[in-house]
Symmetry: D3
Subunit: 135 residues, 6 copies
Amino acid sequence: MADEPVVQPIEYEDASDEVRAVYDDIKESRGIDWVNNFWKVLAHDPELLRRTWSDIKHVMGPGALDPLVKEMIYIAVSATNGCEYCTYSHTAAARAKGMTDAQLMEVLAVVGMANETNRLSNGLRPPVDVQFKPR
Amino acid sequence: MADEPVVQPIEYEDASDEVRAVYDDIKESRGIDWVNNFWKVLAHDPELLRRTWSDIKHVMGPGALDPLVKEMIYIAVSATNGCEYCTYSHTAAARAKGMTDAQLMEVLAVVGMANETNRLSNGLRPPVDVQFKPR
Amino acid sequence: MADEPVVQPIEYEDASDEVRAVYDDIKESRGIDWVNNFWKVLAHDPELLRRTWSDIKHVMGPGALDPLVKEMIYIAVSATNGCEYCTYSHTAAARAKGMTDAQLMEVLAVVGMANETNRLSNGLRPPVDVQFKPR
Amino acid sequence: MADEPVVQPIEYEDASDEVRAVYDDIKESRGIDWVNNFWKVLAHDPELLRRTWSDIKHVMGPGALDPLVKEMIYIAVSATNGCEYCTYSHTAAARAKGMTDAQLMEVLAVVGMANETNRLSNGLRPPVDVQFKPR
Amino acid sequence: MADEPVVQPIEYEDASDEVRAVYDDIKESRGIDWVNNFWKVLAHDPELLRRTWSDIKHVMGPGALDPLVKEMIYIAVSATNGCEYCTYSHTAAARAKGMTDAQLMEVLAVVGMANETNRLSNGLRPPVDVQFKPR
Amino acid sequence: MADEPVVQPIEYEDASDEVRAVYDDIKESRGIDWVNNFWKVLAHDPELLRRTWSDIKHVMGPGALDPLVKEMIYIAVSATNGCEYCTYSHTAAARAKGMTDAQLMEVLAVVGMANETNRLSNGLRPPVDVQFKPR
């Protein structure tokens, strides 16, 4: 197992002004005084960093869904894909937004069932019922 | 493209008493008068049918999470896995529970972002920050 | 890399009677005197623990397929999904049921080929031959 | 839905001698008088066609595992990945080798469980037990 | 099989000014007089439409990599994920940028190999060699 | 986390002549004096080792695509599948062939976008436009 990232995280003191501006916005938006490693590796491409942060901030913010629900959906996708970093970071984010252990376990129970029935469907290929077709 | 299922759906009139009992429970629990094809193909293994329905009924029912939130998580997993039948059936189920088009679009916006950042993480492998480690 | 689980495993001495009953059944059914960590983390949701163990015990037990064949299928799915814990635990389970290294290598040779041809099909999209359509 | 392949299948009468030799070997090895569309689209790259057929013939033939077991593993991977063509073709191949409907349903029951527990593991990240570590 | 989209495509004549502005930019940037269905379904969330188009235009445009190479990477991901729409649309896009059938077949040969060896690695778990660790 | 492989790597001094011949060819073809662990675990099945190396050597060598482009496609698939070993080994291989950090970041930006839009398509299911259908 390799504990080292594929590219080294860029720390604040070594960052360009463009990158620092994103780091500052991350800290301010979240009301915390540190930046997590995901952003520090993205910083090797300042435009990718800026765009991804801007998209995440927009998508995960208030909208038609509750922000905690969005974090739970993020956990569901990350567990389905087996993304380790994402599982830890979004579980932490959901907990910071109030997710209880009971809620986490229930998210995963649904994720498990969905992955199971997805494969039963893929293997047996039932026709899509006319009742399910969009208006 | 093959429109035919891998095994033929078993209709109520051709079903064993064991299978009919599950079909009856599905209809009663959902307050509808039909059974969707997923259950009709599972009926080739009555025990798999019984167990899967029992699990789904339990997991998707009331608990620590709102039933509509659970349907949205189901959509998120199904879209991530590319399961066509599941996408149609759970989108229909979520709409029946009140999901608006604005909410559906926002679920998918989160699913899209999560799939994007999952791969940025998988490719760059940032170390999991100590702050994210569980207590 | 984070060596810590997302929720702490619940040991026998800290478990409720409901959880202990499942742990006892796992040990008795398998004829061993310990419980692996997968069940100890599921124990945070006793109903999820009970249901998952009951399903696994039923599905992986004697039936239309040999139990060792089922463990090989489990390895195939786990390697395809990249689930680390599942790969180790089900490879160990298959070896305990008599799988040789030659058989393991052959399982993976098939898994490799299937993943390769799955993507050649997905990319080139040949029509499903009428001869393959179910009766 | 697009019923057309991404590249047109190459029929025997339009094929080069190199491609025809593979088609002939497929028919002879399988004791049938037709070639399925997967090979006919691969034929756009005769070397890829030759190599893939040679690999499949070798991997799926007699060895440490029963050929029917290998077809079941192929179905398991194809259902997990959601490959439609592969699901139909390998279910047909397994049936031709004697797979019953009861066995097919049991393969999928295992595939479903494996996909479910893979995600419970990915979301909760239990440490790999020392007992599971290879000698 | 359901040929109908989950939400109806929004045609130009029914679109808001905000959506029309994106449609116009798609047509102008690509030098064509039509908009493909992907954008027309995204239009149910004008902000998602605007953001996704802006990101795609930026990411797929000139940079450190050749635009045709980027389209090939897009095909590789889409075939790996089994996304039907994406496979057709990006294969068409790559052909419009000059991809030959020989190149397409070679992309898929690499995709096939990568999916095969990914699973051999996932199943056998060789330690990452020190020589591969980033500087 | 388990740092140990599922089967022990077979070192040159413990290898059969058949396996040594492949190791020698790997070293000679690559102009290096070591063999990476992937091949050393495959060596438990000499025929799988021989075949996989022969396929990789052929597929990744000169052809219709530049060898560096092929390595980038390999990274794209490996990051999509979350294969850790493959991500490290093929990123190292691509760097050895001249890939810059800017190119790596751009590969991943495309991979991220493709995974995002694959899921937007899977969830919304736009019909494949007639313009995208192959001739």
